[in-house]
Symmetry: C2
Subunit: 471 residues, 2 copies
């Protein structure tokens, strides 16, 4: 006899938390750090201030011998936007809740990373999370847990403090089971690669052994922020269009097209509607289901829309990317270092930009680099796992004939690839690798070839100079 | 100014449907077929009858030239348990709803596959889905859509029909955008591999070109069905234990342990509670949060629990697996064919069984097989994508020194690996590849070595016989 039931989103990710990156204590500690750090960086960039981030992991319960679980206290503090007090419990206590469901590039996208982190801490320690935040006025401090069965926060304590120094930002402190010795390399690598693509961020990390790691900012200069944009007609489907039609105040379909989509002017709206055999004067409320389908099909075929507006994106920029890599890889001016930013492109109606950088030379050789070391980034998030499943790795390893660029299997070469988009083609909610979108793959491949041509000049010149020295 | 909102589970998978396998029309058509077929097979096995499944894909809208979308009507009919009428709309119209949230092996596990299939059809065609089902009494027919913003079904029509023939089963019919020419190979492969591990299933498939594919059953014999079991103490965490304590009627902790967990007798319960420093006579309601944490920690360390009960599993069986492979690969008795079922094992408190089979010989060579062809299965589901990300592929390609078994790079060799568990370590909700769980990897590796040793005998004998023939 089958018994039917529904479960809440938090219950789903509780039962399947490995899908979100919380598969075992060492991986969970890494995922907790990355989810919280990504939230803090998003908040600082939203506030347009260079991020100052303090991260501390402290042992709470020393492992008794080999078997006992290691419990850590994890604390992160940022100078970001803060969260308005009425939303604080929901932001951390509800899965599928957040401020990043809009059409603008940010690290966060799913509305679950922070909550799953809190959830994991709760189910391994039964301890509440403490969140303090201020948007500039008072400081609100919450002690809370998650009602996992109902996907709702449980507020245990809420205090309001005066904010004499006018602090603005967020502090999150939780306890969770982890395995620092197993995750420390990945955590350090994550912080270092974050510094590589955010050279304007200042990150301080104190680990359980009391060691202090400081990633100082190399500059105060930040990339221009992304702006929220309206959707592009190309990416629209029946559900999106149906919702727009249901909620629009536009009096006719021509005004509707111009109002709800980006880059649709009067002429384009008229031409498009005529292609779709819809009278531009039709009130939106009179569209039937078949009309909606007709419009979606016509939008996907229509070739005269403007290209998607890339102002919703915020790439790193060639200068900042080069600066970050030079600093984190200890390069000198004698090394080869070049960064390139491709022009905006699109896939499935979503704009994206590929940036890539390459570094090669004696500084790398001296640090033990040998062969290609690939750094992958998506919306400025370092991707550290599942490399061989990622389209970036596929492009680097299968689409490039490296020997034609004078690169041999032990040439010390760093390749960094950054994809930014309002919709990163993640293959799973764990944000570790990207799916094989053809347009994205093509842009990555072309970016690498562009850099590799310059690398070839450098290598052939080094070979030539080495020969001359030998004579 | 950040704007905070929550979205429903269906809205989440609408926006991120590529994570569930609905990334593009050809992949979506494949995913629709597999999700519906897996539901039908689960239902037939739950009813303990050999599955009779009719699958038909018909073109509805021929693509106009190269660009137009191709719309298909997809219909599947099974002789499974059927669905009680009051649950039909929820089963297909609500994400995170179903009958498979219990501790018993089945293909379905997340409560979303069927619903996302309906959702994808709806957002690409605006057409409702038709579901007819009977648990043996009347036949209930629904025409419905999904309210994606609220994760609720919208029933457009509900008719009750007399069931003169006493039919029992389910019919699902929907329209969706697809690309059959691009997905036909994968769809065919999926059906063929399903037949390999379910030789008791009879599957008829009519494709858009009107071609009929029939996978006849090789036997009526089915593996023993899995039984739902209580959780094992080893896998328990704070949240699970907290829920049990909150809802238990047991009068004391000793009765609680015996009542709620599998394989815990009186002596074990007493010993365990003493190890956890909890008085066995304590009423469960008196446990505080620290006691719950203490119990979870103690349960993970305690070594005297019985091994997890594998009666919640339903492996294929060596005989059926061999039968299915022989039939689908057209093997003869002269070929090498061997199947092995490992003893039950566990990871993280969940029981699992690895089964593997190997085939080699002239029949494979004649069909063009060359090198290792790997077939991967999880809970009898064929896994066709992301091979190199899967722990099964890792075991086959990195943990086995094939040359020592006389296997060379062009030896025609089929390796089939099946993992069954109440918790398959899927890395994503798309169910295509398994995470590197060490215990699972070890069992797969050992199963393959076990078969490879026998393969070596066969190959060395063939070599010897070939030499003798040459003299
Ligand atoms: N440090 C922070 N500063 C400001 N706002 C924050 C901070 N951390 C979380 N938030 C808010 O909480 C919301 C939920 O965070 P959460 O990490 O769960 O999801 P997300 O970041 O939106 O998406 P993702 O799951 O992809 O990370 C965010 O959208 C943001 O509005
Ligand atoms: N053909 C069918 N016969 C009987 N019951 C069915 C059938 N199809 C779906 N169901 C019921 O509908 C529920 C929901 O199906 P759905 O595919 O959405 O989720 P699931 O199979 O439980 O999990 P998963 O997402 O892993 O497939 C199932 O649990 C099952 O009870
Ligand atoms: Mg986040
Ligand atoms: Mg299913």
């Amino acid at each position: 006899e089958a018994s039917y039931q529904s479960i809440s989103p938090s219950d789903f990710f509780y039962r399947n938390r490995e899908i979100a990156g919380f598969s075992n204590p060492s991986r969970a500690l890494y995922s907790a750090v990355r989810e919280l750090l990504e939230n803090s960086l998003d908040a600082c960039e939203a506030r347009r201030v260079p991020p100052d981030i303090y991260l501390r992991i402290r042992e709470v319960l020393p492992s008794k011998g080999e078997e006992g679980p290691e419990v850590y206290s994890l604390r992160i503090e940022d100078n970001g936007t803060g969260i308005p007090d009425e939303y604080i419990p929901l932001c951390f206590g509800k899965v599928f809740y957040g401020s990043k469901y809009i059409l603008r590039q940010s690290r966060g996208t799913f509305g679950l990373g922070g909550t799953i982190t809190i959830l994991y801490g709760q189910i391994t320690t039964h301890k509440p999370v403490r969140v303090a935040s201020s948007i500039g006025k008072e400081i609100h401090e919450y002690e809370m847990m998650i009602d996992i069965e109902h996907n709702e926060p449980i507020v245990l304590r809420h205090e309001v403090h005066e904010n004499k120094k006018g602090w603005r930002g967020t502090i999150v402190e939780l306890q969770l089971e982890g395995d620092y010795s197993r995750s420390m390399n990945k955590i350090y690598e994550y912080l270092k690669q974050t510094a590589m693509v955010c050279p304007y961020a200042d990150i301080t990390f104190v680990d359980p052994k009391g060691r202090l790691y400081r990633f100082e900012r190399a500059t105060d200069q930040m990339p221009p922020p992304p702006r929220a944009v309206k959707p592009h007609p190309k990416g629209v489907d029946v559900e999106t269009l149906r919702r727009m039609v249901a909620s629009t105040r536009a009096r006719n379909m021509k005004a509707f097209m111009m109002e709800h989509f980006q880059g649709v002017g009067e002429v384009t709206a008229e031409r498009f509607l005529n292609t779709a055999s819809i009278d531009p004067r039709t009130p939106p409320g009179e569209l039937g289901p078949e009309d909606i389908v007709k419009l979606v099909r016509a939008a996907n075929d229509f070739e005269e829309f403007n290209r998607p507006d890339p102002s919703c994106l915020s790439p790193i920029g060639e200068e900042l990317l080069g600066m970050g890599i030079k600093k984190e890889l200890n390069l000198t001016d004698a090394d080869f270092l070049m960064a390139v930013q491709r022009r905006p492109s699109t896939y499935l109606g979503f704009p994206f930009i590929v940036e890539a950088a390459m570094a090669h030379g004696r500084s790398l050789a001296r640090q033990g680099f040998s062969g290609i070391t690939l750094y992958r980034f998506a919306n400025k998030i370092p991707l550290l796992f599942d490399e061989s499943s990622c389209v970036i790795w596929k492009a680097v390893n299968r689409n490039i004939n490296w020997s034609t660029y004078l690169v041999s299997p032990d040439t010390p070469l760093v390749v960094a690839v950054h994809v930014c988009s309002t919709k990163i083609p993640y293959k799973s909610v764990g944000k570790e690798f990207l799916a094989d979108q053809p347009e994205v793959e093509r842009e990555i491949t072309n970016a690498i070839r562009q850099l590799a041509r310059h690398l070839r000049l450098y290598i052939s010149r080094s070979i030539r100079m080495a020969r001359e020295r030998r004579r």
